[in-house]
């Protein structure tokens, strides 16, 4: 305690201007805006309109940055007077806008394009709104200041105002960003098609459409808030939170998954299928990383094994095993279990040498193993068997009776069934004896061993079972593409899977699904972002680790762990608010 006081005292010695925080916030948000522009994200999303001829995605992003600067500032300064906070917001916004203005000036006075490829005249036009420097520079500063103030006002307004406004904006954003998708889905019926004509043109929302969506969403949000308040007052829990409600929710999610690709066509089918494949892989890696704590960066190798086994067993190419061995051509249904089995074997084989390697070293060792697999598959030395860089072509699509699963939607259903089955297995494994043993190993290997857990068996099972999921995924991947190339099995896939389970929540099954939808589905839908998806992954990994290490949808155990940990820290000297809260809880409990 004394040490903390001393350091706090020292920190306070430096006299800071009252606007220090506003300046820093403005600088940070301004740097974000400049970064987005220089890296090329803003110029890219400028092509896409949210509201036709009124607002592009890039402008929306800049607006959000300005508002965000104000809102962030207001959050930490509740105890100041409103005038001070508003003034701070004004300063932060102006600083952020000023940085952008500086960028514009720099772009127009020095030739930066020969180094920074995104700083083209088009980018300059985007930032200046083609108004010329003399108007644009003050405009950027003023706009920033106004947005900062608006952000502050939004943040300090009462929730009953803030929430509906935010929901309305989000709804407009959602309908604008996913306009292509929504429009395709709205085409199937004439009546809905008429609605579409009002809301949309082919480039984006019409201004009227945006207004309609905003009003509806705001109204709905107001209604829901009012109902929630009423139910909270009467003390009844909503039906949705009951057990039946939970099942109903899951049922609705299932129905959406089945109907969505049928309604939205093959493009969505393709995207969802990819999501499904990553869910499969994610569940596999989740067993290794999430449950057993074995950080495996060579995971892609098992995916490759599944894909290559399927290809070698089923393809109509000279590289297929049937072409030069006694093994007959197989159908996909025969090859898939074999592929899974071989993946398991490879998984165990991979696991054995790295059994004694722990922590960070394990990550690097497995990454090395994964890279070895890729190098070997790509090389000429293995080309007679694995076809080298040319890949194995002409893998037939799976058939059921006379029906060929050629359509992405049909293949999506195949993936869905497999993922469902795998999810069931993973779910059962989680709370099984083995699952608990994994968690014990994750938390402390030495203690787990001392408690009689056979480390070798448990770890190898984690590698093997994890590999099984990846092998299944690879097998479907091979028939999806009808060809396999070594270039599909880069380290990036491993990182991708790792990122999605971390974003979703380590050790959590629903987390895997959320993570794949967010990291695989979203970039696939926002096709322009494809180029920047790995940038997004990197940022997601850092931010998740810092802000929400338990993930978007954490598992119950992990939530409890982190919660307990936080509780431990507070134990020493609980602030009065916490004490009061705990007391209130204690009073409530008998009444329940």
């Amino acid at each position: 305690m004394t040490a903390a006081t001393i350091s706090r005292g020292r920190r306070h010695k430096r006299v800071r201007s009252p606007f220090h925080r506003a300046m820093v916030t403005g600088l940070v948000f301004g740097i974000i805006a400049v970064y987005l522009a220089v890296v090329g994200i803003l110029p890219m999303i400028h092509e896409r309109a949210i509201i036709v001829d009124l607002l592009t995605m890039a402008q929306t992003a800049l607006l959000a940055i300005g508002l965000g600067a104000g809102a962030y500032l207001a959050r930490g300064e509740r105890h100041h007077s409103i005038a001070t906070i508003v003034l701070n917001g004004l300063i932060a916004g102006a600083v952020a806008g000023g940085l952008l203005a500086l960028l514009v000036v720099a772009m127009n006075s020095i030739d930066l394009r020969s180094i920074f490829i995104s700083l083209s005249p088009a980018t300059s036009d985007m930032l200046t709104l083609e108004l010329g420097l003399g108007v644009a520079v003050p405009l950027l500063v003023v706009a920033g200041a106004v947005l900062g103030v608006l952000g502050v006002l939004l943040a300090i307004s009462t929730p009953s105002v803030r929430k509906p406004v935010l929901v309305g904006c989000m709804a407009v954003l959602f309908f604008g960003v996913f306009q292509e998708l929504i429009q395709i889905m709205m085409q199937f019926n004439d009546a809905i098609g008429a609605v579409r004509d009002v809301l949309y043109t082919w480039e984006g929302l019409t201004p009227e459409g945006a207004a309609i969506i905003f009003i509806i969403a705001t109204g709905a949000s107001l209604l829901v808030t009012r109902m929630q308040v009423r139910s909270a007052a009467s003390g009844t829990t909503s039906w949705w939170q009951s057990r039946n409600g939970q099942f109903a929710k899951a049922g609705i999610a299932m129905l959406v998954l089945i109907l969505l690709p049928i309604l939205a066509g093959s493009y969505i089918g393709q995207v969802l299928m990819l999501v499904g494949l990553y869910i499969l892989m994610g569940m596999g890696l989740n067993l290794e990383v999430g449950l057993a704590g074995l950080l495996d960066l060579g995971f892609v190798a098992f995916f490759a094994v599944g894909a290559y086994t399927t290809a070698l067993l089923t393809a109509d190419s000279p590289h297929a095993l049937a072409a030069f061995t006694a093994i007959p051509h197989m159908s996909f249904w025969m090859a898939m279990p074999i592929a899974v089995l071989i993946s398991v074997m490879v998984g165990v084989l991979f696991g054995i040498p790295v059994l004694g390697v722990r922590g960070d070293y394990l990550a690097v060792a497995t990454m090395g193993l994964g890279e070895i697999v890729r190098v070997v598959v790509q090389s000429d030395a293995a080309a007679p068997l694995l076809a080298g860089a040319q890949g194995i072509l002409q893998i037939p699509k799976p058939r059921i009776g006379g029906f060929e699963l050629a359509d992405p939607v049909a293949l999506f259903f195949l993936t869905l069934v497999c993922a469902g089955f795998a999810a069931y297995c993973a779910w059962r494994l989680e709370s099984s004896r083995l699952g608990r043993a994994w968690m014990a190993v994750r938390d402390d290997e030495d203690v787990a061993q001392a408690l009689g857990i056979n480390l070798v068996k448990v770890k190898l099972l984690a590698y093997g079972l994890g590999a099984a999921f990846a092998g299944l995924s690879g097998s479907i991947f091979a028939v999806m593409l009808t060809s396999v190339y070594p270039s599909s099995f880069q380290l990036l896939v491993s990182i991708n899977v790792l990122a999605l389970i971390i974003v979703g929540g380590m050790g959590s099954l629903p987390g895997v699904i959320v993570g794949s939808l967010a990291l695989v589905g979203l970039p696939e839908l926002l096709r322009e972002f494809g180029e920047y998806r790995y940038l997004f992954y990197g940022v997601a990994l850092i931010v998740m680790m810092r802000i929400r290490p338990e993930g978007l949808w954490p598992s119950a155990t992990r939530r409890r762990e982190l919660h307990d940990f936080a509780g431990d820290l507070e134990l020493e000297e609980p602030p009065p608010a916490v004490v009061a809260e705990v007391a209130a809880h204690a009073e409530h409990r008998p009444g329940e």
Partner: protein
């Protein structure tokens, strides 16, 4: 503490004697298999005699060049690991940032002709800018990405480091484009240094003389100078002493009044500077710069750091040179002999196999005194 460690290492040794499990069988098979490939391949290659002595010499020289780059990068890994017990996964990408900034200076100087008229000054300028950039980025990474995880156990710091690596790569991709930029060719590189002339000038059938590419000599020499400077800094200066103290025992060092934060920043700065130099050299040797270039040398240099014994500075240098030579000579020496077609495609295979073998069988490396399992 020492007794516990000794006891720990004793117990598995006894149990291996009493119970020889299938895992041990497979591990031994792995050792024996790799040994057979290495020995058999070497004998096969030498027996075939496809390579002459000058070719071996070229391979070794190239290996030393590559190795000096690895060694410079490995120093960054090893210093950061020593102080923070963190694998700075993004260190290879910090090298890339140095290479990129050096490239822009080099191409500007090439355009103005300065690169050829004043090669030494130009090299100095390129190195200075590269070092400045990579040091800045290394320090910034530490401040914003690693410092919040200073006291976090488990996988979070490593995962964050992977995120940083991606962030740096993709940022540079966005800034400078995904294409491969080709590095300018200064004139002094064109003529190799002749070490020994086998035949008298004007002979009828001249035997090709023993030569070394000038780049190799420059890179190796400058890298050794850089390493010597670094070693002096660490051994002789106050800050270097503080750094060694922190890597010995952080808490005790803090109690002796050492500002650990300052030391960590200093470590990252030194590592970043070495990575910047490595980036310039790597670009000079391979003549290309692109956003993903840091990944592979980064991983290999980590292998080199582990090979030498992570935390040990001479170890990192030794490991780097060793890895470079093995990677360069290996395909010809080990793989050609057992009749593998196109062995040079498998260069990375040799490096990664070495990396994995070290991680599995000798995680404390050649010179490492610290137990590698300490962090786990």
């Amino acid at each position: 503490m020492a007794d516990v460690a000794a006891g720990r290492s004793l117990i598995p040794r006894l149990s291996t004697l009493s119970r020889f499990t299938f895992v041990d069988v497979i591990l031994w098979a792995l050792r024996i298999g790799v040994t057979i490939v290495v020995v058999g391949g070497t004998i096969g290659t030498l027996y075939k005699g496809r390579y002459v002595a000058t070719q071996w010499f070229d391979l070794v020289m190239f290996g030393l060049t590559l190795g000096s780059v690895y060694a410079l990068i490995a120093l960054g890994y090893t210093m950061v690991y020593g102080v923070l017990r963190l694998i700075n996964f993004a260190h290879g990408d910090i090298m890339m940032t140095g290479a990129f900034s050096g490239y822009f200076i080099a191409s500007a100087l090439d355009y103005s002709g300065f690169l050829n008229s004043n090669p030494i000054l130009a090299m100095g300028a390129i190195l200075a800018v590269a070092v400045a950039t990579s040091t800045t980025i290394a320090v910034l990474t530490e401040r914003f990405a690693y410092r919040p995880f200073r006291h976090v156990r488990g996988l979070a710091p490593l995962i964050c480091a992977i995120g940083v690596s991606f962030f740096l790569e993709q940022t540079f991709r966005g800034l400078f484009g995904p294409s491969i930029h080709s590095y300018p060719d200064p004139k002094w590189e064109a003529k190799p240094i002749v070490l020994y002339n086998f035949s008298a000038p004007g002979a009828e059938t001249p035997i090709p003389p023993l030569t070394v590419p000038t780049v190799d000599v420059v890179v190796i020499a400058l890298a050794i100078v850089a390493m010597l400077v670094l070693y002096t800094i660490i051994q002789k200066t106050r800050m270097g002493t503080a750094m060694r103290a922190v890597s010995e025992d952080t808490d005790a060092a803090a109690m002796m009044g050492i500002d650990v934060n300052k030391v960590v920043v200093f470590t990252f700065a030194l590592g970043g500077a070495m990575a910047g130099i490595a980036g310039v050299f790597y670009a000079f040797v391979f003549k290309q710069v692109y956003f993903f270039m840091g990944f592979q040398p980064g991983i290999k240099a980590f292998g080199a750091a582990v090979l030498g014994g992570i935390g040990s500075i001479p170890g990192a240098m030794l490991g780097g040179f060793f890895l470079g030579v093995v990677e360069s000579v290996g395909p010809a020496l080990f793989l050609d002999g057992i009749g593998i077609p196109a062995p040079y495609q498998l260069r990375d295979l040799i490096a990664f196999t070495l990396l994995i073998m070290v991680l599995i069988f000798r995680p404390h490396g050649i010179l490492g005194e610290r137990m590698a399992k300490k962090r786990a």
